[in-house]
């Protein structure tokens, strides 16, 4: 039974984890998240999660979103390990045990 104020948790491998998706923050963005490498946020889809991140850490908003509210072109966001732009974009649904990974777009060649 949860104590007062205790967040809902799930058990996985013996560890107690927040029952909300995890957002992994790349090094280049950590100065905007007070150094946090991971942020937990609530949302039904990718867009809501990223807005929740921006709400917790306002300095991330301008780096993630364009003035029109779209994901900035030079930012890649992955649901677990798949690019959301090739899934459903910001409308891509998320589950509580999903991980959102934000990465700068890096080329090869």
């Amino acid at each position: 039974m949860r104590g007062a104020g205790e967040a809902a948790c799930v058990r996985r491998g013996g560890a107690r984890l927040p029952a909300v998706p995890t957002i992994k923050i790349p090094p280049v963005l950590r100065s905007s998240t007070a150094g946090e490498k991971e942020v937990h946020a609530e949302g039904e889809n990718v867009g809501e999660l990223l807005r929740a991140l921006a709400s917790q850490h306002p300095a991330t908003e301008g780096q993630l979103f364009s003035d029109e509210g779209e994901l900035n072109r030079y930012v890649n966001v992955y649901l677990n390990d798949e690019d959301v732009r090739v899934l459903g974009g910001l409308e891509t649904g998320v589950q509580v045990d999903d991980t959102l990974v934000i990465l700068p777009a890096m080329a090869g060649g």
Partner: protein, 323 residues
Amino acid sequence: MGAPDLDTRPCGGKYGDIVRAIGNTPLVELKRISPKPGVRIWAKLESHNPTGSVKDRVARAMIEDAEAQGAIRPGQTILEPTSGNTGISLGMICSRKGYPLKVVMPDNVTAERTQLLQMYGAEVVYSPGEQGSNGAVAKALEMAEGDSTYYMPYQYGNQANPDAHYHGTAVEILEELDEVSAFVAGLGTGGTLMGNARRLKEEDPDTLIVAAEPLQGELVQGLRSLEDGFIPPIIDLAMLDRKIFVSNRDSVVWTKKLLAEEGLFVGVSSGAIASIAVRVAESLDEGNVVFVVCDDGWKYLSSGVYTKPIEELEETIETASFW
């Protein structure tokens, strides 16, 4: 008495020079890593190109296209950003054609890449390794802006890059297979995926096009801001059905797996691509899954990937640039 019959077919062909010998690479079935009997996995061995990588096709196409358009003067210096393979391919072709070559490359690539470039007479300018190819592109563009005597093919924005695959790689695959359920390649410049996607989907719109891309270690994500992110202009995400990242660690694991289980000696990016090819194969009931082996493993030998256990490769995994 006549000559004995040829045992091995198809024959490798006869070519006027080494540049003409680019392409026509083998397609090899990998039965041992296929997860299901009805799904056949095929490796397109672009490592069999003359300088050892898929980029030979791209380098030839870009230079020949520029010559056809009159964009290059005889003896003009070619300048190009590269993580290695394109530079090496250009090195061979430019040395034959008399164009001096200057390449901009991240300084954290393996020593073999530098040696191969020097071997072909290229001048190497290094960019900060922690910025990856993004840094090389930025530096090369800055150099080109400052000196109009250079000609930059710019593989990231040159249509000759995907066209080399549209007219070459994809046609070869279709020559050998009656159907292609899925095509998997690495996402670097986007040329391999875009060119093959366009041609394969013309043949069968249901062919899945899947991109495997590198998840670089944090130490090589040294961009100053997200705005330093770079997406090559030739990439059209609408051509992709899936785009999946693979960590350096998983790339190394699968590179070693290909060697151990199939006897395939491939570069680390090809290990990553193979991992995604198998994942795609698991989602199918039947069909052919083709993936591109971009290069072989010779230029990564110094990394220890092929001989050391994974536990001893953690630092390499965090800092090396394999793509």
